[in-house]
């Protein structure tokens, strides 16, 4: 009982830490770090073939970021990545950074630069 209350409090504390933002605010923040962004470069990153364990972002997010994807290893369905199709995307900077870190390592075998993150996000927000 005592432990469960502690665990619940911790769980609540951490869910409370995630701050809501709009995708535009997230992009503005990433742009500020990179000094601007390019939709075209972002699309190249999304569609490119790289040297990581999984060759491309499209591996899990499909050719169309507005569509549902599927995790290549676990086969779990993944909700669309583009904010136009999924209003929860790019609304929490900690979450965005966490998945950039993981997925860039997976695909590029290194972390993405501030420039790449801003470009990628600009491309996602440009999808209508």
């Amino acid at each position: 009982m005592k432990i469960s209350i502690l665990a619940m409090t911790l769980a609540l504390a951490y869910s409370g830490l995630t701050s809501a933002a709009t995708p535009q605010q997230i992009l503005a923040e990433l742009n500020a770090k990179a000094g601007g962004s390019s939709v075209a470069r972002g699309e190249k990153l999304y569609r490119g073939q790289f040297g990581g364990e999984i060759k491309s972002c499209m591996g899990c997010h499909t050719e169309d970021a507005r569509a549902s994807g599927r995790h290549v290893k676990t086969h779990k369905a993944i909700e669309p990545l583009a904010p136009v199709a999924n209003k929860e995307r790019f609304t929490d900077m900690a979450k965005v950074e966490k998945w950039f870190r993981r997925n860039c390592k997976e695909v590029l075998a290194r972390e993405c630069t501030a420039q790449e993150k801003a470009d990628f996000t600009a491309y996602m927000l440009s999808l209508k």
Binding site: M1, I3, Y14
Partner: protein, 169 residues
């Protein structure tokens, strides 16, 4: 002292209620899930949010200590939040204090020296699925035995009732 006795009594009562409820509804194929969004968000992003009661606490402790190389992925999400998730997993583990009959059976079927990392490799899992044809696991929408939620539609709620199974084509 009285406070301790009361707490123990409460724990016992809660434990009994948990064990009794699902058993009355179905064969007890329900597991308690952590409260709040933390577990679902951090451990349910890449796959089913596995019920902690599917493995003993020592399995979860080992897994949480090796999150940086989690089945070939970096599953880390910050030391503080990882500590919170560890507490949730241990609390509701198969050999935890809130274990129901099914969870105790799972705990009992795993040798004390083992800390298995795959639920889909445990004797319990194999026993429960020995009638599922091999070819099913390879269907695109299933892909792996560990994709519980593909067939157990309410797995993220800790529910594995047979009547809620729906095997995708």
């Amino acid at each position: 002292m009285t406070r301790h006795v009361t707490l123990a009594g409460l724990t016992l009562a809660a434990g009994l209620a948990l064990a009794a409820l699902p058993a009355a509804a179905d064969d007890g194929a329900a597991f308690p899930m952590p409260e709040g969004k933390l577990y679902l968000e951090e451990c349910g992003g890449c796959h089913t949010a596995y019920a902690p009661g599917l493995l003993p606490a020592r399995s979860w402790k080992k897994m949480m200590a090796e999150l940086e190389h989690h089945f070939g992925e970096d599953a880390t999400f910050g030391a503080e939040a990882e500590k919170a998730v560890s507490a949730l997993l241990t609390e509701l583990a198969a050999d935890g204090r809130r274990a129901n009959t099914l969870m105790r059976r799972i705990a009992g079927s795993i040798p004390a020296a083992d800390a298995p990392q795959r639920i889909s490799g445990t004797p319990f899992f194999k026993f429960m699925h020995d009638e599922v044809p091999n070819s099913f696991w390879k269907r695109t929408k299933i892909g792996t035995a560990a994709n519980c939620v593909a067939c157990h539609t309410r797995a993220n709620l800790g529910r594995y009732y047979e009547r809620e199974v729906s095997i995708p084509k």
